[in-house]
Amino acid sequence: MRAGLVTSVAGHVLLVVWGLVSFQGTKPLDASQIEAIPVSVVPIDEVTSLDKGKKTAEVKEKPAPNDPTPKEAEKSTPAPKPSQRPTPPPPPPAAEPPPPPPEPEPTPEPPKPEPPKAEPPPEPPPPEPTPEPAPTEAAEAPKPQTPAPKPRVKPRPPRPAEVAEKPKEIERPRTPQQQAPETKDDAFDPDRIAALLDKREPTGSTARSDQPASFGASEAVNPSARLSQSELDALRSQVQRCWNVPIGWTDPREVTVVIRFRLNEDGSVNGTPQVIEFPASQYGQVSAESAIRAVMRCGPYQLPAEKYDQWSEVQMRFSPQG
């Protein structure tokens, strides 16, 4: 028993000594260097105040009821109406000069439903933005509150329930160049077999929802958010230039193609465009190829580099209308 006890004690003493030695200097963790987390407080006053400032500024301009008057006057012609709606948001300054004369006209009209002159003018603008994004459903609710007659007229312009694409087309080109494009558009629509190119996802929902927002807070507030209408238009027009519509079709649906392609950051086309959807008609193959050719030929596209995320992958609809 003694031998065991001696060995055991000796072993434990050794163990303790080893522990004393090895645990003596526990290395402190290198936590000290990580302690400082740089936190910078960025004032967003600039952004916010810009935003607010624009809001107020636009509201001031809007009271001059440019929008209502032209629309009423041009009720008969469908094309111009949609075009002018979008214009108000960005161009207020430029658009002002022409409308001022009509001012008297609108003011007398609102009084009929609602006597207070001062208030009605500011009110009408707000409803306008809403109808544009979703003209059918959403527009109906807000309109009744404000001048009843005007809103009713507005929804009509998109009158042709035929194709929702038409209005889009017209809207976009104008935003970049306000007045000049209008004439072009007029020529576009009826005369030419206009190539309607849709970037589907962004245009359908996002681009539209952008615009109502742009009434209050302009695109500049959040540049990285989404492609604006004008930029989409720019892309569309760049592609459109190169698209040779196949000949011989009778129904636009016979040559309507949807294509998806990727873009590099410098705007050049990355890889080969991919045909998402092409008609089963005899022109299907041809039109798909022509669309791909158009995309390939017209690159590199000029698009805002900071929004590359938004246009790194584009889906476009090639469809002649007329």
């Binding site: 031998a3 060995t7 055991s8 004690v9 434990h12 522990g19 004393l20 645990f23 200097g25 402190p28």
Partner: protein, 237 residues
């Protein structure tokens, strides 16, 4: 213990003093006792482990040697005479005990074969039991340490953490520098418990199986020897 003083002690403790010794010295008295107890248990259990391992290997060696001699054809009388005074091994002790009973029975003339056989078996059983007990003594201590060690260590840890929480509450400071030493010293109690228990459990399993093997071997030898003596009794009767 005054929690405020404890907290102050924890605060005063320099951050780098987390060595074994300082951990032990800072610990609460209960934790200290637990640690000391566990260290003692560890020392004792290792002593037992070493002792038993040596004993078993020695016993096995002796048994091998004795069996070799026993089955070598040497006369049992001679063997008995040579071993009578100091039976070196467990088997030799069994052999000597049985032979002594045999001889004593013949010398006194108590020659009833059945009675003699019974007496020899009894003597064999008793000797085996005594030898086995010698082999297995203190093994239970290992089993106890193995099962209770972690609990004792855990008790020390819980106690230490309790007091260190009190220290936190007293110092109203939850920084790691305040909490860490208390927890470290508390965890050391569990570490010691495991340190004592793990070898104890392993050794207990190993040693108990070895001892039962040896006991089985003794039983087998006793049965064989009993059969030999029984034959002798029948021949002489």
């Amino acid at each position: 213990m005054d929690p405020v003083a404890l907290g102050q002690a924890a605060l005063d403790a320099p951050a780098g003093s987390l060595s074994f010794m300082s951990l032990f010295m800072q610990a609460h008295i209960v934790v200290k006792l637990v640690m000391i107890g566990l260290i003692v248990a560890s020392v004792w259990s290792w002593a037992i482990i070493v002792d038993k391992s040596l004993l078993y290997s020695r016993v096995k060696r002796q048994m091998d040697r004795f069996e070799k001699v026993f089955w070598s054809g040497q006369s049992l009388e001679d063997l008995y005479r040579s071993l009578a005074n100091r039976p070196g091994s467990a088997l030799a002790a069994i052999f000597v005990a049985a032979m002594r009973e045999w001889k004593r029975s013949f010398e006194t003339g108590a020659r009833s074969p059945i009675g003699l056989q019974t007496r020899i078996d009894k003597v064999l059983d008793v000797t085996i039991a005594r030898e086995t007990e010698r082999l297995e003594s203190r093994l239970l201590f290992l089993a106890t340490v193995g099962s209770a060690g972690p609990f004792i260590g855990l008790f020390g840890t819980v106690w230490g953490i309790m007091t260190s929480f009190q220290a936190i509450a007293a110092s109203k400071n939850t920084s790691l520098a305040v909490v860490a030493p208390g927890i470290a010293e508390a965890l050391m109690a569990t570490a010691l418990g495991l340190l004592a228990a793990i070898p104890a459990v392993i050794a207990y399993n190993k040693l108990s199986s070895a001892s039962s093997k040896i006991a089985g071997r003794m039983e087998g030898f006793a049965d064989e020897f009993s059969a030999i003596l029984s034959r002798q009794i029948d021949e002489r009767a």
